[in-house]
């Protein structure tokens, strides 16, 4: 039997009358809380509290408990002496590349692939990544992340993004690689380009944050402030000049619920495993290439070539050129390199460290992120992102140099052990 459209609608109405109960809905406490947390008056202070909790947990879990509490002891007390012993009879270049400085007493200063490289990857970065993704998975499972997206929707629309862009941005604080992948649900090419360009330039990854937390805990807030200002300022400009649309996206906002251990564990394991597979080899490879560049004298040549820019435009010591080169491979490794250079006798002021860390954060996405950018965008858009990045680096570097010239933060910086 074939029904006409009107008959179909009549049937729908009859079925719905028999099956759907219409009554007055009474909001539950959970509904009221869910509603309050997307309204700016309460939602913004609530978000500050959540991010405070996020950050404090991250620092204490990664820094105090695992890195300082156990990994420093394991790597400096057992791993490094064992490596030095095993490689004692090896040729000098093998020792230098894989173990590093023979006189080093800790993995932070040794700078070998298996000493500093492994210490950075496993001892510093891994606990940071685990802490970050654990809290992120809990917030996702509770249902807070979509609410954060709703809360910042208005703000992000000013730079051509949808509130959902907060999810890849937050993910990138763990690792830029899944952050870039998470930009896929954004509707238009313009939005995807904006989100990927901004997060790959202005969002430091968990690895880098972990190193910054260890090296410059007092400056990290200022670094973030500079990056947030850059994120919105450059986003605003890009939104004006990049053609295309930034439409609304309908997003499901689930009710608040208790997180389930199985969900949290699955998300945590998937993301940490991906980090171990993708990022750790890059850390080790980065260390290897930097060591080879040093040994062959190429690093000195690059440093001399870059010194007019490094010292003249950015106001940084010439020696930091090596860190900048290392940053092409891994940004966390580059920040660590500055600490190692300072520990090795390079004179650098507090403001110069701040400038170097900010510039390292923005001047080039790490190799893994860059490779993914080419895949997710196209060559033209990737080159556009790189052009943006070059302009941003020069403008940021020059502004910071100007601020630094006023004498602010001119005391010499002593790296923390």
């Amino acid at each position: 039997m074939e029904l006409s459209t009107d008959q179909r609608w009549d049937l729908v109405e009859r079925i719905s009358k028999q099956t759907v109960e219409v009554g007055k809905y009474k909001a539950t406490l959970k509904d009221a809380l869910a509603d309050l947390t997307v309204r700016p008056a309460i939602g913004i202070p609530f978000a500050i509290a959540v991010i405070y909790g996020f950050w404090t947990f991250f620092c204490e879990f990664a820094g105090t408990l695992f890195t300082d509490g156990f990994f420093v002891k394991i790597f400096d007390g057992y791993w490094l002496p064992w490596l030095q012993n095993v490689f004692a009879g090896a040729p000098t270049w093998v020792f230098n590349v894989f173990v590093g400085d023979p006189l080093a007493t800790n993995c932070f200063e040794a700078f070998g692939v298996l000493s500093s490289g492994l210490f950075l990857a496993i001892g510093v970065v891994l606990p940071a990544i685990v802490a970050f993704y654990l809290i992120f998975a809990i917030l996702e499972d509770v249902g807070y992340m979509p609410r954060l997206a709703v809360l910042v929707d208005g703000l992000l629309h000013k730079i051509g993004l949808h509130g959902y862009a907060v999810v890849p941005t937050m993910l990138s604080l763990g690792c830029n690689v899944p952050g870039v992948t998470a930009c896929r649900p954004l509707d238009t090419r313009k939005q995807r380009f904006l989100a990927i360009a901004l997060l790959s330039v202005f969002v430091p990854c968990g690895a880098q944050i972990g190193i910054m937390q260890g090296m410059i805990p007092g400056l990290i807030g200022w670094v973030f402030l500079a990056l947030v200002i850059g994120y919105f300022a450059v986003g605003w400009v890009l939104n004006k000049i990049v053609p295309g649309e930034s439409p609304e996206i309908l997003m499901d906002v689930p009710p608040y619920q208790a997180p389930t251990a199985r969900n949290v564990w699955t998300k945590l394991w998937t993301r940490v495993w991906r980090f171990l597979k993708v990022a750790v080899p890059f850390v080790l490879l980065g260390c290897l290439i930097v060591n080879v560049l040093y040994m062959t004298g190429a690093m000195d040549a690059i440093a001399s070539a870059l010194s007019p820019v490094i010292t003249g435009v950015f106001g940084l010591p010439e020696e930091t050129a090596s860190a900048m080169v290392a940053g092409f491979l891994r940004k966390d490794l580059a920040v660590g390199t500055i600490g190692m250079l300072a520990a090795g006798g390079m004179t650098i002021t507090l403001f110069q460290v701040f400038t170097a860390v900010v510039l390292l954060s923005i001047y080039f996405p790490c190799l893994a992120t860059f490779a993914l950018m080419i895949k997710e965008l196209n060559w033209k858009q990737t080159l556009g992102a790189l052009a943006t990045l070059i302009v941003v680096v020069f403008v940021f570097g020059a502004i910071l140099h100007l601020i630094g010239s006023s004498g602010i933060g001119s005391s010499a910086w002593v790296p923390l052990e």
Binding site: L33, G53, E60, L65, D68, G218
Partner: protein
């Protein structure tokens, strides 16, 4: 929620909100006067790199409590107090977590794990204000339970009326 619970919530969270607000403002005053080094006063400690952030959170939580006291029986007002309490639980919870994280490892030169005496000593005062506020913020459980009890009774009565209609 019962009238008693609503009245209790209105008065209690009015007073408690004012105290939370005062602690938050005190955090800013101490920050301005002494910087991150802060001060310790008996069992109370106001110091640390994050002082400015927990001060902001306490000021906001205090203000949210105060904004919830009118018509406390309304679910929206109760939710405001709950949101403020969650903010205090986050700050206090993280202060406790920091103590736990610091109490387990034995330090750079020490053994792998802290000996019992040092472990316990980590938990000794002074504490940040949020830890003192934590037990008082748990009073939010009373109006929530009262509301849940009444909602359950309403539902039973509706079901009963439905069955006998």
């Amino acid at each position: 929620m019962s009238n008693t619970a609503a009245k209790f919530g209105s008065i209690y969270f009015g007073i408690f909100g004012a105290i939370v607000l005062i602690f938050g403002i005190a955090g800013f005053v101490v920050m301005g006067a002494y910087g991150a080094e802060g001060v310790s006063w008996g069992p109370l400690q106001m110091s640390g790199l994050f002082m400015v952030w927990w001060s902001i959170i306490l000021v906001a939580a205090g203000a949210i409590y105060l904004s919830s006291v009118g018509n406390f029986g309304n679910v929206r007002q109760l939710a405001k107090s709950l949101a403020a309490s969650i903010m205090i639980w986050i700050v206090a919870g993280m202060a406790i977590w920091a103590m736990i994280a610091g109490s387990i490892p034995g330090g750079e030169e020490g053994p792998w794990f802290n000996p019992p005496a040092d472990f316990i000593a980590t938990y000794a005062p002074p504490y940040v204000p949020a830890i003192f506020l934590l037990p008082f913020s748990l009073a939010i459980i009373y109006p929530i339970r009262s509301r849940r009890r009444i909602t359950a009774t309403d539902r039973e009565q509706q079901n009963y009326a439905g069955d006998h209609a």
